[in-house]
């Protein structure tokens, strides 16, 4: 033990003498661990919220019965099924508006509610009697209570005047959900004796076949390990995870080069230790202990950094998830112990993986240094061939995924295989370019320049691969984001066609406002708006009512449409469907859909498809008048106004004054646009932040690789110096070499990045969000990224080159004389 400690002390003394090296190693490990665990913390946080949502009385974690039509069904089916031995519990779901905001209302039946419905039925903490007997109790998350700005026990008023049950906080409830007794819910939603679904509990005995009880009215939905939100947000988290992984690997590149350098420098020490009687086994054990201890320290620091990264990104992530999917993520980071353990483990495993080559070398270290010339050329050729073969396999896999795959995961698999292949083929590509250069070089120094660059390849290739990947991802992501914002802005112009948007507090006020507006000469048109929520094919559906007005006919952007689509909307038997819905149900113009409405199913012809970016729900647009006929209960509080631009501010202030409307309830088009754009920019804020970080980490990787290489390359440069090449000249040549390989890499990264962007737009986005964006190339951006990459390469190459230029002749002599 003492012996091992002394040996460890000798090994560790190296770091005391080379603090920069230690710093590089730790920085690599810390950044790898920090980014990875930061992203994991975000994912974990989000997943926990999804679980919370899923556990809410029959999320997808519970088996359930729903109406085949997707609509509500008579309560008698519940009774019939119970009487036939089915352990079912009824749920009614709907939406209520409070203060102009929409909430999800869940009616549950606590007595039959299966005990194993997730973690949700802590309803028990509330008083059952008060919950079940009128007026009942309305359970809400603490966040919802804060949103409503009401105290516990207060009774909020729904749009339409109905007094809701007194509020009661239920800490583990999902925000935005109101939970009431089934009977209370039926009253609030004006759906007497109707249910949305039946949760299936643990079987208590045999039960009759479903068909013999419910005919074909109900359909069984098996429990799903994955929640709705998980499915919806998969892409987002895959995206985060992909960046986390990428940064992790780039961080490991740094660790790899730092450990490689340290090991090279410690070779004589290791030999001396062996010569002085440290056995090979002891040496290996101590080397591993040293590495694990360093990884432990770095892992802990990395975890703390990861925590802060996650904390810093969480608001953006939460905003994105809310904006994109309506998922509610609490803003306070809560981490499980597993997160810490996993973080430390990944740090140690990463360090061991990054050090594997060096450790293997140490294990095989011959006791006697034999100065045999390294057959680098042969070895390099073998290595290049091997890598290229792997690259081709990766490309083939990418092609296969692209051709056969039809899911989000395969979309990412295409991306991963593509990038892996590109990274693997990079050294071969560089080798080809460099050997072409060597063939056409004439001057002896020129030939040496190319040949030496080739020899450097194996040492630099890992860093160059990191640079390639970071650049390609950067190009891909920025192209996607740019394409997105450009498309989105144009689309928003069409969608936000009215000049002023008003949302009245209730129907009466809306009525008054309309009457008042009619008297105002500057108001050219009042366009009523309304929205109903229903279900289609087992998923939520928004039904949007559009008035028959030129504003929409002229501006509303349609991706596809039948002739005279807008005229066909008028009779109320036709609808425009959102791109998401069209993709999900494979609808095209001319198809029919059946939408459950209050009075029964509503058959609609699809006459057009429109883009509906950023909406997690499927949506259809119908004639406004038809909507109010079919869904008479919807609030009619929203309206759009056409107003002469110069009169807008005065009208808005007049409206606010007259009707005491807040900023939230009256907004002009510009404000709405700014708000929408802001939300959308936040969507990619996290991506952009991780993107930049990855590029930074790639830069550090390049720097450390070059530092490592610079040291081991001095013996190669010393003879050149000895035959009369000045140090300055040598430094210039070194710089030029680094820059040229970096440039070749960058040039290769650009088309790869565009390919990545295309994959993101055409595969990943479509699967993830249900919409496809047009693909644009932004040359200026590419140029700018090339500049950034070259600057990074320059910065990374500068330090070793400056050291070379300033190196004392004596050092060069010593190296020349003392060939290792």
């Amino acid at each position: 033990m003492k012996r091992a400690l002394w040996t460890l002390a000798v090994l560790l003394s190296h770091w005391r003498r080379h603090p920069m090296q230690l710093a590089t190693l730790l920085i690599g490990l810390i950044s790898a661990t920090a980014l990875w665990s930061g992203v994991q913390a975000l994912n974990q946080q989000a997943r926990a919220s999804y679980d919370r949502a899923a556990a809410t009385f029959g999320g997808t974690r519970t088996a359930m019965l729903v109406a085949r039509s997707g609509a509500s069904f008579p309560q008698q089916l519940f009774v019939d099924l119970r009487r036939a031995g089915w352990p079912v519990s009824p749920v009614l779901e709907g939406r209520v508006q409070i203060e102009g905001r929409s909430f999800r209302l869940l009616g549950i039946e606590p007595v039959t509610l299966p005990a194993d419905v997730g973690n949700a039925p802590a309803v028990g903490k509330a008083d059952l009697q008060a919950f079940m007997t009128p007026p009942g109790t309305m359970l809400v998350a603490p966040e919802t209570l804060a949103d409503l700005k009401l105290a516990e026990g207060a009774r909020p008023q729904a749009n339409g005047g109905a007094l809701l049950p007194p509020l009661r906080v239920q800490p583990n409830l999902v925000p935005g959900v109101l939970v009431v007794d089934i009977g209370v819910a039926q009253g609030i939603l004006k759906m007497p004796d109707l249910l949305s679904r039946l949760l299936i509990g643990k079987a208590t005995g045999r039960h009759a076949p479903l068909e013999s009880v419910a005919g074909d009215k109900l359909r069984l939905i098996e429990p799903d390990a994955e929640t709705d939100l998980e499915r919806l947000t998969d892409s987002f988290h895959l995206n985060l995870t992909a960046f986390g992984l990428l940064s992790f690997f780039v961080g490991l590149f740094i660790v790899n080069s730092a450990i490689g350098l340290a090991f090279e420098q410690r070779l004589p020490t290791l030999r001396t230790l062996r010569a002085c009687g440290v056995s090979a086994r002891m040496m290996n054990v101590v080397l591993v202990i040293e590495l694990v201890s360093l990884a432990l320290v770095a892992g802990l620091i990395g975890l703390v950094c990861g925590y802060f990264i996650a904390g810093a990104l969480l608001p953006d992530v939460a905003a994105s998830l809310r904006g994109l999917y309506g998922a509610q993520i609490p803003g306070q980071l809560t981490l499980k112990p597993q997160w810490w353990i996993a973080g430390i483990a990944i740090s140690i495993l990463g360090a061991l993986a990054a050090a594997a080559a060096s450790l293997t070398k140490a294990v095989r270290l011959p006791l006697l240094a034999t100065a045999q010339p390294f057959a680098w050329q042969q070895a390099q050729r073998r290595w290049l061939t091997y890598q290229s073969a792997l690259a081709l396999a990766a490309f083939a896999a990418a092609g296969g995924f692209l051709w056969f795959g039809d899911s989000l995961l395969t979309g990412f698999a295409v991306l991963a295989a593509l990038m892996l292949g590109a990274a693997l083929i990079l050294p071969m590509l560089l080798e080809v370019v460099l050997s072409l250069g060597q063939r056409y070089a004439r001057a002896p120094l020129g030939i040496w320049f190319w040949a030496d660059s080739r020899q450097q390849l194996s040492g630099l290739s890992l860093a160059l691969m990191a640079l390639l990947l970071a650049l390609a991802v950067n190009v891909g992501v920025s192209t996607m984001v740019e394409s997105f914002s450009r498309t989105f802005l144009v689309w928003l112009d069409g969608r936000l066609a009215a000049d002023v948007y008003v949302n009245a507090a209730n129907d009466e006020q809306a009525h008054e406002i309309r009457a008042w507006l009619r008297e105002r000469p500057e108001v050219e048109a009042v366009l009523p708006g309304g929205r109903a929520d229903t279900q289609l094919a087992g998923a939520p559906l928004e039904v949007l009512g559009l008035p028959d007005h030129a504003t929409y006919r002229d501006n509303w952007p349609l991706l596809q449409s039948a002739d005279n689509a807008w005229i066909k909307l008028r009779p109320g038997d036709a609808a425009l469907v959102s791109e998401q819905l069209a993709r999900r149900l494979h609808l095209s113009v001319g198809d029919r859909i059946e939408v459950p409405a209050s009075g029964g199913n509503w058959t609609l012809n699809v006459v057009g498809i429109y883009a509906d970016y950023g909406n997690p729900k499927s949506q259809i647009a119908v004639n406004f008048a038809a909507l109010t006929r079919r869904f008479p209960e919807i609030p009619l509080t929203r309206m759009g106004l056409r107003v002469a631009p110069e009169k807008i501010p005065t009208l808005i202030s007049a409206l606010q004054e007259k009707f005491a409307l807040g900023d939230r309830n009256v907004a002009d088009q510009a404000t709405m646009k700014a708000e929408s754009t802001r939300i959308f920019n936040r969507t990619f804020a996290v991506t952009a932040a991780l993107n930049a970080f990855t590029l930074g980490v790639a830069g550090v990787a390049l720097l450390t690789s070059l530092l490592t290489l610079a040291n081991s390359r001095l013996p190669q440069l010393a003879p050149l110096w000895a035959i009369g090449v000045t140090r300055r000249r040598l430094a210039a040549i070194e710089l030029l070499k680094t820059m040229s390989v970096a440039l070749i890499t960058t040039i290769f990264a650009l088309p790869l990045g565009l390919l990545v962007a295309w994959c993101l737009l055409a595969i990943v986005n479509v699967k993830a969000f249900g919409w496809r964006l047009p693909f644009h190339v932004f040359p200026l951006q590419l140029l700018w990224l090339t500049g950034v990459a070259m600057a990074a390469a320059f910065a990374a190459a500068a330090l070793p080159v400056i050291r070379l230029a300033r190196m004392q002749p004596a050092s060069l002599i010593r190296i020349f004389a003392n060939e290792r």
Binding site: Q76, G85, V111, L113, A115, G124, M132, G205, R206
Partner: protein, 361 residues
């Protein structure tokens, strides 16, 4: 001074009805059965019972139950017991409301017992929507797929013939119950006082059922026959604060006599016994504390509790001295509120079979 046992014993269970939906702590604040009966109908003496009306529910009272136990044997002489119970509890006073606003909660317990096994199932329901309920005529008591239902030509005074059905995850039974003799009013003409503090219940029994049907354990159906016993009871404030538990028996003598008796254990150590002897000709003998001596013989460790599963019972007045042994000492009802209930056999001055229920251990 008699008749308080059963109502108390079952009231305790019934009161705890809400206490345990799958272990959820529902009951806060209202399961306390010793709270005042304000708003609920009081139990007063000299009530006139009328059938079939009184077979149906009495929602103006807080709690009520329909309770059947049966001692059965198959063709090879193997003994079985079954239990079928439907509890009703009102969580608020006032007449029964329509639909979900109905303030009745129903709970069903079912069990089968054999020497080597004891299977239990329970279920819950809200009233008002049809998942559970009781109709007086034609008589029908149900919760989910479990039911006790009048067969054609039912005699209201005998409350027979009936069919009885229940199923759990690993057992089920369907029985036909026949009776040639009418039901018996317990206590004083069906008014069953439970304490000096004017707490009481309405209570009648049908101890004369002949049962026959099919019992299925682990998917193996078995033809069975035997004797069954129905208890009907309702009240508004059944529980006394100083009671810790109950030992209750219903006995079928080979002679055709029936005996219901219990011992109510009080915190002050004053055990309180009561009973009623029903002769084959339906003449009755009411027994009080001084008449009954109950002595535990064997204590069994069940579900972490020590429970006296064998008893010596002596009623000098009736020349009764018997020892009761359980068919299965592990007849533990591991329901939301757990208790011990199972078939027994007895020998001594008299022989026969019966049911034993014990709570509060």
């Amino acid at each position: 001074m008699n008749g308080s046992g059963p109502i108390t014993r079952r009231g305790f269970i019934g009161g705890a009805l809400l206490a345990g939906f799958g272990g959820r702590a529902f009951a806060q604040g209202f399961a306390g059965l010793s709270e005042s009966a304000d708003g609920f109908a009081p139990v007063v003496p000299d009530r006139t019972f009328a059938f079939p009306g009184d077979h149906g529910p009495h929602p103006e009272f807080r709690i009520e139950w329909w309770y059947v136990t049966a001692n059965l044997t198959d063709a090879r002489g193997i003994a079985y017991g079954i239990q079928w119970t439907l509890f009703r509890q009102a969580i608020a006073a006032g007449g029964a409301q329509e639909g979900w606003a109905n303030q009745q909660i129903w709970m069903g317990h079912a069990a089968v017992t054999r020497e080597d096994t004891h299977r239990v199932s329970q279920t819950f329901a809200r009233g008002g929507v049809g998942q559970a309920g009781v109709a007086a005529a034609p008589f029908h008591a149900w919760i989910d797929a479990w039911e006790m239902r009048a067969l054609d030509s039912m005699n209201d005074e005998n409350i027979a013939p009936c069919s009885l059905k229940a199923a759990g995850a690993d057992f089920s039974y369907t029985l036909r119950l026949d009776a040639e003799r009418p039901l018996t009013l317990q206590g004083d003409g069906g008014y069953s006082r439970k304490s000096l503090r004017e707490q009481a219940s309405y209570y009648y029994s049908q101890p004369h059922y002949a049962a026959a049907g099919i019992l299925t354990i682990d998917d193996k159906p078995i033809d069975v026959t035997g004797m069954a016993w129905l208890d009907r009871e309702w009240s508004s404030q059944p529980l006394a604060a100083d009671q810790s538990g109950w030992d209750w028996l219903s006995l079928h003598f080979n002679s055709g006599d029936k005996l219901m008796l219990y011992r109510m254990r009080q915190n002050d150590g004053q055990h309180y016994s009561s009973g009623k002897w029903i002769a084959p000709d339906n003449t009755v003998e009411t027994l009080g504390s001084d008449d009954i001596v109950m002595t535990p013989l064997i204590v069994t460790q069940v579900a972490g509790r020590k429970i006296p599963t064998s008893w010596r019972i002596a009623v000098a007045k009736m020349a009764l001295a018997i020892e009761c042994r359980p068919l299965n000492p592990r007849s533990w009802m591991g329901t939301s509120f757990p208790y011990w209930e199972g078939p027994i056999r007895f020998e001594g001055s008299h022989t026969g079979v019966g049911y034993l229920e014990m709570t509060g251990y």
